[in-house]
């Protein structure tokens, strides 16, 4: 469904991704784990066109999307939940959700999608008129995921959804990610919390300083000695 071939990106003169190749099949949860600064966020930004690709190709559903403007990539069926949630803090919850559906001009359809988001996150319905910046961290993360779902993505990119959240909230967020996946959305999850990520993913990649150093089923990675040592704190 999504395929990266030797993707290289630069920030100025610094090479951030040094040739990343990965492939995700329809219906999967794939995860990219790695330390701070390994290039996880850059990988996601390259996929949605927020970071320019120096060389290499990105294909989504067999179509080449390398170098396309972000809005085109979003309208082709990819949505992203950015790192740090990045909700619009001075807008209401409702407006944030509406913006998620910015490219959808069918009002009835938008309403239906919003009902679906409320089924996943009932708290958002109660907070509908509240200014998003005043929500708790966990609620903001729910809003960020709900907003991304409003775009009806076939591929959902999640950047560190566990960041800064209490363990209980993290596990409920991960339950919901699994639920979203089971209803048919393919997921690419980037995480520092390797334990959580590998426990829900089908497949994992380990990223170190801009290179993929390991790829395997999530199950195997969880039991891999090197991974255990470096990322699982055992």
């Amino acid at each position: 469904m999504l395929k990266l071939e030797n993707v290289v990106t630069h920030y100025g003169n610094i090479q951030a991704l040094k040739g990343i190749s990965l492939e995700i099949s329809r219906g999967e949860i794939a995860t990219v784990i790695g330390a701070n600064g390994a290039g996880k966020t850059t990988t996601l930004k390259a996929i949605c066109g927020l970071v320019g690709v120096t060389s290499g190709k990105i294909f989504f559903e067999e179509k080449d999307i390398t170098g396309k403007p972000t809005p085109d990539i979003v309208s082709s069926g990819i949505a992203m939940v950015p790192e740090g949630r990045r909700i619009f803090p001075r807008m209401s919850v409702l407006e944030n959700l509406q913006l998620g559906a910015y490219l959808n001009n069918d009002k009835n359809d938008v309403r239906k999608d919003m009902e679906r988001v409320f089924e996943l996150f009932p708290i958002l319905k109660q907070r509908l008129k509240q200014v998003a910046g005043t929500l708790s961290g966990g609620e903001q993360q729910m809003l960020a995921i709900g907003r991304a779902l409003m775009a009806k993505p076939r591929l959902l990119l999640l950047d560190e959804p566990s960041m800064g959240l209490a363990p209980m909230i993290v596990s409920s967020i991960f339950d919901i990610i699994t639920e979203i996946n089971q209803s048919g959305t393919t997921i690419l999850l980037v995480e520092q919390n390797a334990q959580m990520a590998l426990s829900i993913a089908h497949k994992g990649y380990v990223l170190e300083t801009g290179r993929i150093v390991m790829e395997d089923t999530a199950e195997n990675l969880l039991h891999n000695e090197q991974v255990k040592k470096a990322y699982l704190g055992e």
Partner: protein, 293 residues
């Protein structure tokens, strides 16, 4: 007697202030979305006045048509300036577009001097004011017209920003450009649109002031432009209701200040600017940026 004079001064202040507010909106909208002070806004205002003047004198059009033409002229100019002078510098250091803005401003002033000459041009006599009597107070018809038009434009802007999809896209782009793109918003279009609306409001102010003072000249944008900027800072730069309130306060301050020290009329705005920067740099309605991470 005192009340009559007081009321007349309030009307003068509100009239002047509402034109400052219209100018301030252009600064504040552009700042809100690009964090750029568009110093060419003074000349966008001047262009509006000249387009309006040409429509009235050359084409003998009525006031309403001249106003719309002035707004359209400024709107197109604003969009072109953004495309040529600011967009190529979007990723440059912050100072670069600012210098570019000052360059555009000087260029346009001199272009207008070449085309129209340095002397002020007058609007025809049929545009002069009649006094309307409301019991014991008098209002000039022109003042009333300027106030009504300014208020209508500001209500229109408010509805545009809060009730339409493009308005929502403008607010989203102002808050977070990268995330706005992830929503599918084409931010270049939104930025163009913001320049279009802000410049059209500046053009409207140009036509209204041109008619009010019955004159237009190439340097006319200088002081109103600076004062519009002060009004925007006073209200809190980037804050739209702030620009409206800042404009009105500045207009009133100037008119009442001039009663006591008429020779320092233009200095009042800058005294206000110094005071606000000293004591409340975020402006009256500006907010500190505070976000949860």
């Amino acid at each position: 007697m005192f009340f009559q004079q007081f009321f007349a001064q309030v009307m003068n202040g509100l009239t002047l202030g509402s034109t400052y507010a219209l100018i301030a909106l252009g600064y504040t909208m552009v700042y809100g979305i690009l964090e750029l002070i568009n110093f060419a806004h003074s000349e966008i205002y001047m262009t509006g006045a000249f387009v309006g003047l040409i429509m009235v004198t050359v084409y003998k059009l009525p006031f309403a048509a001249a106003l719309l033409a002035g707004m359209a002229g400024s709107c197109i100019l604003g969009v072109i300036i953004e495309k040529i002078a600011y967009r190529p510098l979007r990723k440059a250091t912050r100072i670069a577009p600012l210098i570019s803005a000052i360059g555009v401003s000087i260029f346009l002033q001199n272009a207008a001097l070449l085309v129209f000459g340095p002397q002020a041009r007058a609007f025809p006599a049929n545009f002069s004011a009649a006094a309307l009597n409301f019991g014991f107070v008098q209002i000039s018809s022109l003042q009333l017209l300027i106030l009504v038009i300014s208020v209508l434009l500001m209500i229109g802007l408010h509805l545009l920003i809060h009730r339409t999809k493009i308005g929502q896209a403008m607010r989203a782009t102002a808050q977070d450009k990268e995330t706005a793109q992830l929503m599918g918003i084409r931010i270049d279009r939104v930025i163009s649109f913001t320049f279009a609306i802000g410049s059209a409001l500046g053009g409207a102010a140009g036509v209204l002031v041109g008619v009010y003072f019955n004159s237009a000249d190439p340097m006319m944008g200088f002081f109103p432009g600076l004062k519009g900027f002060v009004a925007a800072v006073l209200g809190g730069i980037g804050n739209i209701p702030g620009a409206m309130v800042g404009g009105l306060i500045l207009g009133l301050a100037e008119v009442f200040g001039a009663v006591y020290m008429s020779q320092y009329k233009d200095a009042i705005a800058f005294a206000v600017l110094i005071l606000i920067l000293l004591f409340k740099p975020t402006g009256l309605m500006g907010r500190r940026i505070q976000e949860k991470v």
